[in-house]
C-alpha cells in the first residue's frame, strides 16, 4: 500500500531544516522510515505565509493568499511511503516529530 503522510501543525514551533536534521527524534523517524518503507519520498513545505491558493469559479481564475483549508493546522510537509498496511503507516507516522505537537494525517494514495 502507498500512503501520503501529511505532516501538519499550527506553525507555532517551526524548527529550521538544520534543527530538524540534528533532532534525535527526527533521526529515529528517518531510520524507522527506511526500515518499514525503503521506497519513500517527501518534501517539506514552506510556511503558509508563502502559500497562494488558486480557484476557478465560473471560468474566472481567483488567486488568494494563504492556504485553502480554514483550519488551525496546516500541511507542512508530505511524505510518500510504501508499506504493508495501515498499522505500518501508523507506526511510521507516530515516529514523526510533528506528531508530538501537531499531527500526521495518513491518506491512502488513490491509484
Amino acid at each position: 500500500m502507498r500512503y501520503a503522510l501529511l505532516i501538519c501543525d499550527d506553525e507555532s514551533v517551526s524548527p529550521s531544516n538544520d534543527e530538524l536534521e540534528t533532532d534525535p527524534v527526527h533521526q529515529r523517524f528517518l531510520e524507522e522510515l527506511q526500515r518499514r518503507s525503503p521506497e519513500h519520498s517527501g518534501v517539506r513545505l514552506r510556511p503558509i505565509v508563502d502559500a497562494t491558493t488558486v480557484r476557478v469559479r465560473d471560468g474566472e481564475t481567483l488567486v488568494s493568499d494563504g492556504p485553502f483549508a480554514e483550519t488551525k493546522d496546516f500541511v507542512g510537509g508530505v511524505v510518500i511511503i510504501e508499506c504493508a498496511d495501515l498499522d505500518d503507516a501508523i507506526a511510521i507516522a507516530a515516529g514523526h516529530p510533528y506528531a508530538r505537537w501537531g499531527g500526521v494525517e495518513i491518506r491512502p494514495i488513490w491509484e
Partner: protein, 413 residues
C-alpha cells in the same frame, strides 16, 4: 413430519447464531472480500435449510457450513474474470475440498479467524459507531435492519455506515489480523469497549423491545464468551464477561411494574444464580492472572453486590477499595460519583456528600448526580434539601421508570 422440519429449522437457527461469525471470518481470511464472504455465508445457511431436512443435520454443522460457503465463493470467483488471482490463493485450500458434498472435514482444516475479524472490526481507524455496527453484522450475524432498529437509526443510514466501513478497510489497508504484542493492549481495549457498548445498549432495552428482537445484551455476552475462548490468557476479556454476566443476572429485578428498583431493594432471590456463578468463575480466573484492569475491577465491585445475602451485608469497605483503584486506573467523574456512595457507606453520609458536591461542575446535567445527592440527604435526615435534589433529578431523568421511582421517593419524604 412437521415436527422433524421444525427440528431442522431449530438446528439451522442454532447453527446461525453459533457459526455465522466463524463462517464469515474464515471466508474473509480466504478471499479478502467482505461482501463476498457475507453473501456466501448467507447462501450456505440457505443451502442448509434446503438440504438438512433431507440429509439430516451434519455432525459438525460449522464445518459443513464453512465448506459449503467456501465452495460457493470458489464458484463465484471462477465465474468472475477478476477473481482469477484470488482463486489461485484458494487453490491451496481446494486440496482439502471434498467436492459438492462437503461431508465431514476434520476440525483442524478449518481455521478459526474470528479473532482476526473482531480486531479488524474494532480497528481505531474506523469511526466508533461503525465498529459497533460491523461487529454486530459480521460477527454476530444481525441483519442491517436489526442493527438499525437497535440503534434507532434508519436502515439506509446503517447500511451506508457498513458500506463505508468495509470500503475503508479495503482502501486504507486496515490489516486483517490479530495485532502484534506491542499494539495488543490498546487494540484489545478498543474491542472490549465495543462489546461493552453493545451490552449497555441492550441492558436498557425494556421487556417489550426484547421479545420482538434479538437481545443485544445476549449478543454481547455471546461475543464475550467467544473472545474469552479465543484469548484464554488475557484477563480483561474475562473481566468484561464477568461484569456483563453479573449485571445480566439482575436484569429481571431492576424494575417492578414499570418503576425502577434500586440495588438495595431488588429481590435477591430472583437474581439468576447460574449467571452469577459463571460471572464469579470468570472473575476468579481473571484475577488469578494478576494483571488488573478496569473491567476486572468493575466486575469485582458487581461481585460484592452479587455475593451479599442482603443489602445490609454488602462489603462496602471492599467496594470502596475497588473504586479507589478504579479511579486511579481510569479517572472519570462518573466513577468518582460511585466512589462517593461507597465513601458514604463506609465513612459516613457527610463525607460522601462532600465528595458528591465537588462533582457539581463536571457532572452538571447528569441526572444521577442529584439523584445520588438526594438519596444521601434523605438518609442523613436533611429532608428539605433532599426534596430539592429529588426535584432536580426528576427534571433530568431520561427514562419513565426512573421518573416514577423519583416521584415515589418524593412522595415518601
Amino acid at each position: 413430519m412437521t415436527g422433524a422440519h421444525d427440528q431442522v429449522r431449530a438446528a439451522v437457527e442454532a447453527a446461525y447464531r453459533q457459526e455465522w461469525g466463524q463462517v464469515v471470518a474464515t471466508l474473509i481470511g480466504m478471499t479478502g472480500d467482505w461482501d463476498l464472504a457475507e453473501d456466501c455465508a448467507q447462501e450456505a445457511f440457505a443451502s442448509a435449510m434446503a438440504t438438512w431436512p433431507r440429509d439430516g443435520v451434519p455432525r459438525r454443522p460449522g464445518a459443513w457450513l464453512t465448506t459449503t460457503a467456501r465452495n460457493r465463493a470458489t464458484d463465484r470467483l471462477r465465474r468472475d474474470s477478476t477473481g482469477a488471482a484470488k482463486l489461485r490463493e484458494l487453490a491451496v485450500l481446494d486440496r482439502v475440498d471434498p467436492g459438492p458434498d462437503p461431508g465431514e472435514p476434520a476440525a483442524e482444516e478449518i481455521p478459526d479467524d474470528r479473532l482476526r475479524l473482531i480486531f479488524t472490526c474494532c480497528h481505531p481507524a474506523l469511526p466508533f459507531p461503525a465498529r459497533v455496527a460491523l461487529t454486530l453484522r459480521t460477527l454476530a450475524g444481525l441483519s442491517t435492519a436489526e442493527i438499525a432498529r437497535a440503534f434507532l437509526s434508519a436502515e439506509p443510514t446503517m447500511a451506508q455506515r457498513l458500506v463505508r466501513a468495509k470500503r475503508k478497510i479495503a482502501e486504507a489497508g486496515i490489516p486483517y489480523r490479530v495485532p502484534p504484542a506491542e499494539l495488543l493492549p490498546g487494540r484489545l481495549a478498543a474491542v472490549l469497549a465495543v462489546l461493552y457498548l453493545i451490552f449497555n445498549e441492550g441492558y436498557s432495552e425494556d421487556a417489550e423491545d426484547r421479545s420482538a428482537r434479538r437481545s443485544l445484551a445476549a449478543e454481547a455476552i455471546r461475543l464475550g464468551r467467544v473472545l474469552v475462548a479465543l484469548m484464554p490468557d488475557e484477563p480483561e476479556p474475562r473481566g468484561l464477561l464477568a461484569l456483563m454476566l453479573l449485571h445480566e443476572a439482575r436484569r429481571g429485578t431492576r424494575t417492578r411494574e414499570g418503576v425502577l428498583v434500586t440495588l438495595e431493594h431488588q429481590d435477591r432471590t430472583r437474581w439468576d444464580r447460574i449467571l452469577i456463578a459463571e460471572g464469579l468463575r470468570n472473575l476468579e480466573e481473571a484475577l488469578a492472572m494478576r494483571r488488573t484492569g478496569p473491567y476486572q475491577l468493575q466486575a469485582a465491585i458487581a461481585a460484592c453486590h452479587a455475593e451479599a445475602p442482603d443489602a445490609a451485608d454488602t462489603d462496602w469497605p471492599r467496594i470502596l477499595a475497588l473504586y479507589t483503584q478504579l479511579t486511579a486506573l481510569t479517572p472519570s467523574p462518573v466513577v468518582e460519583l460511585n466512589r462517593a456512595v461507597a465513601v458514604a457507606m463506609v465513612d459516613g453520609l457527610e463525607a460522601g456528600l462532600r465528595l458528591v458536591d465537588e462533582l457539581e461542575g463536571p457532572l452538571d446535567g447528569y441526572h444521577l448526580l442529584p439523584a445520588t445527592r438526594a438519596d444521601l440527604l434523605r438518609r442523613a435526615g436533611r429532608t428539605a434539601e433532599a426534596r430539592v435534589a429529588y426535584e432536580r433529578a426528576l427534571e433530568l431523568a431520561p427514562t419513565e421508570a426512573e421518573r416514577r421511582y423519583l416521584t415515589g421517593r418524593l412522595r415518601e419524604l
